[in-house]
C-alpha cells in the first residue's frame, strides 16, 4: 500500500501526507464511534474501538433537536482526550477554517469536516493541505471523494444519512464509488489518458487523482463507511462492499437502555467488522447487540431533512 500514500498533486509535502494518511491506514478493519462524554469514550475504548469521534450530540439527536449544529465545546473534547489513549477525532463545519484551527490547536488526532454539522460555507470546503492535522471527509460518489482528497483529505468515508439508523444511503454511496472506480479503470484501459481526462471533467475531479484511482482500482486513501450503521450486520455489509472500516454514529448510544447495553452493542459491532465474513461470528455479534436504535426510514425524509446533500 506504500505507493498509495503519495497523491503528488495533494499540495502538501509528501512526508506530511504519509503521516496523515498513515494513521488512517492503522485504523483499517476497525470501528470509530461517536461519543459525547468521557464515560462514553471509555465504553468505546473498552469495546475495542480504534478511535472515537468527540461530538456534543449524536447525529440522531442533532436531527431531532434541529437548530444549528456546530463544533463541540473544547472542554468536552479535552475531557475525552484525557480519558482514552486511542485517537480522538472531532467534527468541524464544512468550510469553517477557524473551527478546524481550534481543533488542531486542541491536539485532536483527526478532523472530520462533516455534513452532520450545519455548513459554514455554501461554496468552498476547507483547504485541508494547509493544515498539519489530518482530515476525513464524506462523499456520495467518486468525484466528491477525489475533490476532497485534492483539497488534502487523508481519509474518506461515505456520507450515508447520519442519525437515521437506515443503511440504504451508505450502501448507495459505496456502490456509486465502486462502480465509478470500475468505470475509471475501464476508461483508462480502453482510452488511456484522453478518456481519463474526459471522465475527470464529467465527474468534476482532478485528472491525476482519477488516473491514480484507476490504476490502483480503489481510492488512494483509506475509505470508511458512515451514515446509518445501526447493527453488526450493517457494519459487516459495508465491509462486504469493500469499505476499510466503519464509523458508527448514533448506533451505539441511541436508545441504549444502560451503559452495559451500549458496551454490548459497541463490542458486537467491533466483532462483526473484524470478522465480517464469519457467519458464526455474525450470529454471536447480532445476539450480543440486542435491540437496535429505532431509527428513521430514509424514504420518509424530506429533501431538506437530509444531511448527505451538504457538501460541494
Amino acid at each position: 500500500m506504500a505507493t498509495n500514500l503519495h497523491p503528488g498533486t495533494n499540495g502538501g509535502a509528501s512526508d506530511d501526507f504519509t503521516v496523515k494518511a498513515g494513521l488512517a491506514q492503522m485504523l483499517k478493519g476497525g470501528v470509530i464511534m461517536d461519543v459525547t462524554t468521557a464515560a462514553e469514550a471509555r465504553i468505546a475504548e473498552e469495546a475495542g474501538a480504534v478511535a472515537v469521534m468527540a461530538l456534543e450530540r449524536i447525529p440522531s439527536d442533532i436531527r431531532a433537536m434541529g437548530g444549528v449544529a456546530r463544533m463541540s465545546n473544547p472542554e468536552m473534547i479535552k475531557e475525552i482526550q484525557a480519558a482514552v489513549t486511542i485517537p480522538v477525532m472531532a467534527k468541524a463545519r464544512i468550510g469553517h477554517v477557524v473551527e478546524c484551527q481550534i481543533l488542531e490547536a486542541l491536539g485532536v488526532d483527526y478532523v472530520d469536516e462533516s455534513e452532520v454539522l450545519t455548513p459554514a460555507d455554501d461554496k468552498f470546503h476547507v483547504q485541508k493541505s494547509d493544515f498539519k492535522i489530518p482530515f476525513v471527509c464524506g462523499c456520495r460518489n467518486l468525484g466528491e471523494a477525489l475533490r476532497r482528497i485534492k483539497e488534502g483529505a487523508a481519509m474518506i468515508r461515505t456520507k450515508g444519512e447520519a442519525g437515521t439508523g437506515d443503511i440504504v444511503e451508505a450502501v448507495k454511496h459505496i456502490r456509486t464509488v465502486n462502480s465509478e472506480i470500475a468505470a475509471a479503470k475501464a476508461a483508462l484501459a480502453s482510452g488511456g489518458e484522453v478518456a481519463i481526462s474526459a471522465l475527470a471533467r464529467e465527474i468534476g475531479c482532478d485528472v491525476a487523482l482519477l488516473k491514480q484511482t484507476a490504476e490502483l482500482g480503489r481510492l488512494p486513501v483509506v475509505n470508511f463507511a458512515a451514515g446509518g450503521v445501526a447493527t453488526p450486520a450493517d457494519a459487516a455489509l459495508m465491509m462486504h462492499f469493500g469499505c476499510d472500516g466503519v464509523f458508527v454514529g448514533s448506533g451505539i448510544f441511541k436508545d441504549a437502555k444502560t451503559p452495559e447495553h451500549a458496551l454490548k452493542r459497541a463490542r458486537a459491532i467491533v466483532k462483526a467488522t473484524a470478522q465480517y465474513t464469519d457467519k458464526q461470528a455474525l450470529i454471536e455479534a447480532s445476539i450480543e447487540h440486542g435491540v437496535a436504535m429505532k431509527g428513521i426510514s430514509n424514504a420518509g425524509l424530506k429533501p431538506e431533512e437530509k444531511m448527505a446533500g451538504r457538501g460541494w
Binding site: A2, G22, R42, D109, I133, V270, A274
Partner: protein
C-alpha cells in the same frame, strides 16, 4: 488491539506463537511488530489505557505508548541504522503516535533467548542518549516506526534474511548438525 485479539481468541495463540517453539522447532518463530505491534511484543508498557492493557510479550522491554504525543506530533525522520550495513543512507522512518522503548527489563522470563539488542535510536534534538526505536531479542524484532508505509524496502529485506537464517539454523539444530 489486545481487546480485539482477546475477543477473537487470538491472544493466547499469539503468545504461543511468539514465545514458544513448536515440537518441530528449536527456536521461537521470527516475529516483527511495528508501532502498536512493538507495544504488543513488549513485556511491559507505560501510559496504557485506564485499567492497563494485555500484551503478547516476547521482548524484555518496557515501552512508553504515545511517546511524542498526539497525531500533531507525528513525524518523519531520517534514522541511521547500522544493522542495514556500513555507509547506508538514512532510513526515512514514519512515526505515527509512536511508542518508544523506555528501558530493558533485567530479569528474563519464559523461554526467550539472548539479550535485548538496541538496533535503532532516534537522537531527539541531539540531546542525551536519544530514544530507542528499534530492538531485537532472539527472533523477536520491534520498531517504533512504520517501514510498511514507505517504499524503502531495506528493513524488509534485512528482516527476510533474518527469517531465512533462523529457519536454516533451526533445521541444522534439529538435524543434529
Amino acid at each position: 488491539m489486545a481487546i480485539v485479539a482477546r475477543r477473537l481468541g487470538l491472544l493466547d495463540p499469539l503468545r504461543e506463537f511468539v514465545k514458544f517453539p513448536s515440537e518441530t522447532e528449536s527456536n521461537t518463530k521470527p516475529v516483527w511488530g511495528t508501532c502498536a505491534g512493538l507495544v504488543m511484543l513488549a513485556e511491559q508498557a507505560s501510559a496504557t489505557k485506564q485499567g492497563g492493557q494485555e500484551l503478547v510479550g516476547g521482548l524484555d522491554v518496557r515501552v512508553l505508548r504515545n511517546r511524542y504525543g498526539t497525531q500533531m506530533q507525528s513525524f518523519v525522520a531520517g534514522l541511521n541504522l547500522d544493522f542495514l550495513g556500513e555507509g547506508e543512507e538514512p532510513f526515512r522512518a514514519v512515526f505515527i503516535r509512536a511508542p518508544i522503548v523506555e528501558g530493558v527489563i533485567s530479569e528474563s522470563q519464559g523461554t526467550k533467548e539472548g539479550r535485548v539488542e538496541v538496533l535503532g535510536v532516534y537522537p531527539q534534538d541531539g540531546e542525551g542518549k536519544g530514544d530507542i526505536v528499534a530492538v531485537r531479542q532472539g527472533n523477536v524484532f520491534g520498531t517504533s516506526f512504520h517501514p510498511e508505509l514507505t517504499d524503502d524496502v531495506r528493513i524488509h529485506v534485512w528482516w527476510l534474511k533474518q527469517v531465512v537464517d533462523a529457519v536454516r539454523h533451526g533445521e541444522l539444530v534439529l538435524n543434529g548438525a
